[in-house]
Amino acid sequence: MKLTRRNFIATVVGGVAGIQVTPLPWKFTDDVAIWTQNWPWVPVPPTGEFSEVSSVCNLCPGGCGISVRKVDNRAVKIEGRPDYPVNAGGICPVGMGGLQLLYNESLRFTGPMKRVGMRGSGEFQNISWDDAFRIIAGRISALRKSGRPEAIAAVDGNREGTTASALIERLMQAVGSPNYVRLPSLSDTYRMGNIVMEGRDAPVAYDLENSDFVLSFGCGLLEGWGAPGRVMNAWGMWHDANPAKRKTHIVQVESRASNTASKADLWVAPRPGTDAALALGLAHVIIRSGKYDAGFVAEHTFGFEDWQSTDGRPHSGFKTLVLKNYSPEQVSKITGVRPDVMVKLAAAFRLAKAPVAIYGKGKNDLNGSLYEFMAVQSLNALTGRINRPGGVLLPDPIPLNPLPYFERDDIASQGLKKPRLDRGGTQEYPFTQSLISNFADAINRSPKSPIDTLMVFSANPAFTLPDGGAFKNALAKIPFVVSFSPYRDETANMADLILPDCTYLEKMDDMVWPVGLQYPFYGLSKPVVKPIYDTRNCGDTVIEMAKAIGESVGSAFPWEGFEDVVKERAKGLYDAGGGRVSFDRAAPAWKPQNPKAGDKPGYNSFDDMWKKLMAGGLWYRPLDQAREWPWLFKTPSGQFEFYSQLIDQAIQRASAKDLRIAVRDDAACMAHYATPTSTANRSDYPLSMMPYEMINLASGWIPSPPFLYKTLPDTQLLKETSFAAVNPKTAAKYGLKQGDLVAVQSPVGEVQARIDLFGGAMPDIVYMPVGFGHTGYDEFLKGKGVNPNAIVQAEQDPVTGYPVWWNTRVKLVKV
């Protein structure tokens, strides 16, 4: 029998018929479908035992309590802790996305590394920790031996008061370099304002929760100002579902219709940088009406009425100054705010039961202006809102133990006598601790960098400083840069050596007094997961580094590790007594609680307290508002000073000109408004550019978790370009339409962005978001949009010397 074509067909037909009555086609179809349901390249998250670990978010100075959900050893979700006094369960978007900063290999350094590529290329090679310590310690020792310890510098992004910053500062002291530089933040403005007006070197404490009228001068209440978890929680309380029950009202003073401005009960839009004039205008209305708190002014303030100094010179007081210069009509010319608005606002402020005027500039990441703060604080003093419930409170600093004294060797002593490169604390900058812009400037000016080795801790100044790229240029000139960043940020990419820190979820760290909180608070975060890469807590690294340098430097660090230092400092909390280490939701920390005689602190020994502090991550002293007036103000007059005698003294030592104060005589020592100076030609640069911050985009050292980009509208970022918000009228003037690509040119540079027509933008001002334009990090963040800091041309703020970053002259050129 031959297999003919016909037979073949018969076989095939039989086969086809037969296969139908077998499971093959049916099961195959089913299984292939199941295969599509379980594609091997779709991840299947392994399951296991669930657990929750409590910690504190350290991504910003907000100090929210977080609870991290874990599956076996993996962290899978971050949530806010309802049993935490600061944030009461909520958390900001950056903190919510924190796991993307932990589990992202291309964002992080996986171990100590040495640069192999060009600077800025981000090409590194793994080395061992021992090698890394050898390199850095050798370099520092060599500089010390050659008698140049001041050529070592440190830039520290840790907040003042934290254990990490204390250790880094101590290292610089031990090594013998005065060049320990911090990044300016809003807290510095607060600190200085409190020094000159109240004589208190303490953080600002606004009793927002107990206030019924919050007049916010520029605070991005909903953009991340203060402790975002706390402020937004308060926001929720203020806006009860039933408007009839709504007790607190919020007025936002800001030039742009930000979220805060839009969501506030009233939005007042003065021109940028004229907040001081507006505050003084309100003071004028209140003084003229005679309805200011005369009792408070008389008893607790200095310099309100005209006065005579001991040398017999007559001085005009705050009242005279304000009545003369800040009538609503005068202020209206400066600010653009209608006089009747000021009159009504002043009346509303005065009539409220517990009003408070608060000062800020967006988030906390950037500094404010001293005289603006003074103007706002003067308004509080005028209405007697200082040291009163719902006003500005004056709590004592946190009683942490100082680090023990240590002996410096001769090299260190000699080195510390050298002048600071940034001239902080000199006659020109009497109240300023450090000035990174001057630091960069000094390096850029000299032909050879006076700094040989720069260490950068928890900071990304190459990106975050509003200095038109000055620091980046300086960085390129410094022969050796060491970064301790866990992330591949712009500054770390310029570094020669990387000693990576752990991320905030892998290490112990402390959080000292979240910005603006009205009660003393100390938070302690602990490792939620074991370090997933070969990284070390920066505190441990510093201690180990000091030991590697040896000699007197090593002996200044007698501790085993970072935890010992934290514990030693926390002992002070125990010794001071009165704090709590657990939180009861029923008794919010901001609610005035009269401590009863029998109140127990909740722990019986320091070890017990430490254990509870570690577990709960919190120590706080509930609000006590009964501060005694005597000795409250530590100014020369012992009172709140409308007229700051400290500034007066500073002017005596140097001159108003040296301090860059535009006005002369008495006004220079009081809150005042002066037209900002700019070297840029107004006709060449007819517009001004103001960077703005958002809560859903990290603009500081911490990279944005990629999740956040889901929340950004495509009128802020589209593919690779970010947008500049411009009022439609301004855009029309230059023939620009929505989405047009423009070059924003300032005297120091140019960036390209698209135009977003936004009615809420003040005419003639270009608003650019901060946080875009990274060249570091990974594909999620790299090359997206532009960084407005790169074109900021900032003058120095009077007295403080901080950059006036909100007033850059620019022009728009259509591309």
Partner: protein, 242 residues
């Protein structure tokens, strides 16, 4: 339109002995027909063999468990006395335990084993399996890569506690009785789906006259049981899918 069909050129099949005329229709060549049927049957049988025997053999790969765990030994109170519990369910959940949050641990982790098999140096018995456990896993603190017979796809959320605690269903109802097993059954993995044969059921046809719950673990089986038990509301999608 077929009026021009020309049969003249048509080469007919090899002309063997002709069948009696008239019995079959004229156009039907009986020899050819027999041949056709023969080849048809060849194809048919070949297909049946492929579909019923070769296909299942190829579809499933045999995989060995890392250790041959002896359930019978562990559940024999004369030999192992650590397993607590009165009823069989309690004994099962001694190792296959529920956690406090109601989740089910399933196949125990190494930590459960080391509750008894603590010290790699001093085994509790003399079996080679235990020695294996000690040297390969306990000493190195490695999890044992067990193959899970009843592992469902990732999209499935199965709540053991709902069935065991609330539904009072015995473990062996669905899993079969493992208590007497001295050897772990052979693990057959579907090469396409990656799942154990226990999900589809041991019978490739998928048909059972008297289906026991432990025979198959497909969604329809869950739904069928829910319906039988009067728990029809639990057939809603989001009860068992995640």
């Amino acid at each position: 339109m077929k009026n021009r069909a020309n049969s003249s050129k048509r080469p007919s099949q090899s002309g063997d002995a002709s069948p009696p005329a008239g019995f079959f229709p004229k156009w039907l060549n009986i020899n050819v027909a027999i041949q056709d049927v023969g080849f048809f049957l060849v194809g048919l049988i070949a297909a049946l063999v492929v579909g019923w025997i070769i296909f299942p053999a190829v579809l499933y790969s045999k995989q060995a468990q890392p250790i041959n765990f002896n359930h019978a030994l562990h559940l024999n109170p004369d030999k192992v006395d650590g397993i607590e519990g009165e009823k069989k369910e309690e004994k099962c959940s001694f190792c296959h335990e529920f956690r406090e949050d109601g989740t089910f641990a399933g196949i125990p982790r190494l930590a459960k084993c080391t509750e008894c098999h603590e010290d790699p140096g001093s085994p509790l018995g003399e079996t080679p399996e235990e020695k294996d456990l000690m040297t390969r896993y306990v000493a190195t603190d490695q999890q044992i890569p067990w193959l899970v017979y009843s592992k469902q796809p990732d999209c499935v959320y199965f709540s053991h506690i709902a069935h065991v605690n609330m539904g009072k269903i015995a473990c062996d109802t669905c899993h079969g009785d493992f208590a007497g097993n001295e050897k772990l059954p052979l693990y057959l993995e579907n090469r396409l789906t990656g799942y154990s044969i226990n999900i589809w059921g041991k019978r490739i046809s998928g048909f059972y006259w008297n289906k026991k719950p432990s025979d198959r673990m497909k969604m329809d089986d869950c739904a069928e049981c829910h319906t039988q038990m009067g728990q029809e509301q639990n057939n809603a999608c989001f009860v068992c899918h995640k």
